[in-house]
Amino acid sequence: MFNIKCPWCGDRAETEYTYKGDAAIRRPDPETASDEEWLDQIYLRDNPSENHDELWQHSSGCRQFIKVRRNMKSHKILKTGTPDESFPEDTI
């Protein structure tokens, strides 16, 4: 069971959250986006095997989205923050 720290509510159990996937995805501007940009946003993923920045929604709590950096092999949660927070690359 993950213990995920919500920036607003503090440490909460994994079961209070819903996983929302890769945090790096940005929706392109629908007025100007090309097919390739839509492909990139909707389908393609880096799918890293080490650290992954991802969004979780605190769906049984404050319902805010939060950003989590988690290791894909150890499952260790390295950092959590608000969705717009930028995480430095070297977070161990």
């Binding site: 996937g21 389908y43 393609l44 993923r45 799918n47 992954h52 894909m72």
Partner: protein, 417 residues
């Protein structure tokens, strides 16, 4: 050596001391006509059919660990072809037909047991959808039967039909020819068959790079040196994104963890495979007597071959909802496997933008049943440099073109398939 009652008797006289090894362990040659990365069921089946059906025997299978040590050895061994959509239906049916003759073809007992797979339905909407799928299967020449709750109870006496009126079983879609097989034997049988035809199976050989020159693949870099080849096939489901990235490809795949578990062994009590979409579970009984079951993904990206307790609890609760009598059993083991979750729930088997580089991945959690069919069409794709008619819809560019094959209708959310 051919395995038969006679070779068994002959070796019994020597106390089974003189059985030859089932496959060689050669050193890699500097060049091959084709290289397959990944020594699981799919890669070994591909090598087998390359040699047997296409006469390509100067082939290497490169495996970073040991044969069948990935998802081939970690699944719940279910084999079925109960698909509705074009692209999926006839492909999985070809795989099931190959399963039916596989032990004879390989001269290796893969213990294919056509005990039926029964999908339970608990709501009116699910009944309609299942009957439509069953009708589509029958139109495609695939066996499907609608079972009433009475038929289900008589075949599976331990099951709870009414559940006190809470999502009672309203019927089920049965595929009688479906069933289970011995997963390790599939890898070993294909390895032996490929090796006998001259394929080099090289274990403990991790691919660290893919050489591409002017848009054409020229070989691979490995922990045992560089190996040249004009054809390289990827069959590394679980790590497809990583290996494809060595050639600069970015794929419509996320890796997730799926858990499975077994109970302590029991006397025979369940002689078919039961699945339920509402209860999120599937269960069968192994020849050793253990109940083998699983359910949902853990629903987060992962490359760890283990999951978390909330999912185990959910799966076990689902099992007990249908089989309250199993509540006294103890869990013996649980484990996880890394699933290539593709963005439409269907696999990708075909060519890539790089000439000579072929991709077989995105199996979600249904790769085991496809093993013979996957090898069959991937061998054709690699040998002929064009897809077989059974995998021509499983292209990588279908996501770009909008021709996704979304059996579940769940959209581009990998965890939902």
């Amino acid at each position: 050596m051919r395995y038969s009652i006679f070779s068994l008797a002959r070796n019994a006289l020597n106390y089974h001391q003189d059985w030859p090894k089932a496959w060689r362990s050669p050193d890699p040659k500097p060049e091959y006509d084709a290289i397959i990365i990944g020594g699981g069921g799919h890669g070994l089946a591909t090598a087998y059919y390359l040699a047997k059906e296409h006469g390509m025997t100067n082939v290497a299978v490169l495996e970073k660990g040991w044969l069948g040590g990935g998802n081939t050895g970690r699944n719940t061994t279910i084999v079925r072809s109960n698909y509705e959509l074009d692209g999926n239906a006839l492909f999985y049916e070809k795989a099931l037909q190959l399963w039916e003759g596989l032990s004879q073809d390989l001269n290796y007992n893969v213990m294919f047991s056509p005990r039926g797979v029964l999908n339970l339905m608990h709501t009116d909407g699910a009944v309609d959808a299942a009957q439509r799928r069953g009708n589509a299967m029958r139109l495609n020449g695939i066996d499907a039967e609608w079972w009433t709750p009475e038929m289900i109870k008589s075949r599976v006496p331990l099951i709870e039909i009414d559940n006190g009126g809470h999502f009672p079983i309203m019927g089920g879609l049965m595929q009688p020819r479906a069933g289970t097989a011995r997963h390790d034997a599939v890898a070993w049988g294909y390895a032996r068959g490929a090796d006998m035809r001259g394929v080099d199976i090289i274990q403990n050989c991790e691919v660290t790079g893919i050489d591409v020159d002017n848009g054409r693949v020229t070989g691979v870099q490995t922990t045992r040196g560089a190996i040249r080849s004009k054809k390289v096939g990827l069959a590394v489901a679980g790590h497809t994104s990583q290996v494809a990235a060595m050639a600069g490809l970015r794929l419509p795949i996320e890796s997730h963890v799926l858990q499975a578990m077994v109970s302590e062994p029991l006397k025979p009590c369940l002689d078919t495979v039961i699945t339920s979409g509402v209860a999120h579970m599937y269960i069968s009984q192994s020849d050793k007597g253990e109940l083998v079951f699983g359910g949902d993904l853990d629903f987060y990206n992962s490359y760890a071959q283990r999951g978390n307790f909330p999912c185990i609890e959910h799966v076990v609760a689902s099992i007990l909802y249908l089989f309250p009598t199993f509540s006294r059993l103890r869990l013996m083991r649980s484990w996880g496997g890394i699933m290539d979750m593709s963005m439409d729930g269907s696999p990708i088997i075909g060519k890539t933008p790089i000439d000579g580089l072929y991709l077989n991945g995105g199996w979600c959690y249904g790769g085991f049943k496809a093993t013979p069919g996957s090898g069959w069409v991937f061998a054709h794709t690699m040998a002929e440099d064009r897809p077989h008619e059974l995998n021509e819809l499983f292209t990588l560019d279908r996501f770009h073109k909008g021709y996704v094959i979304d059996e579940r209708g769940a959209g581009p959310i990998p965890g939902a398939h």
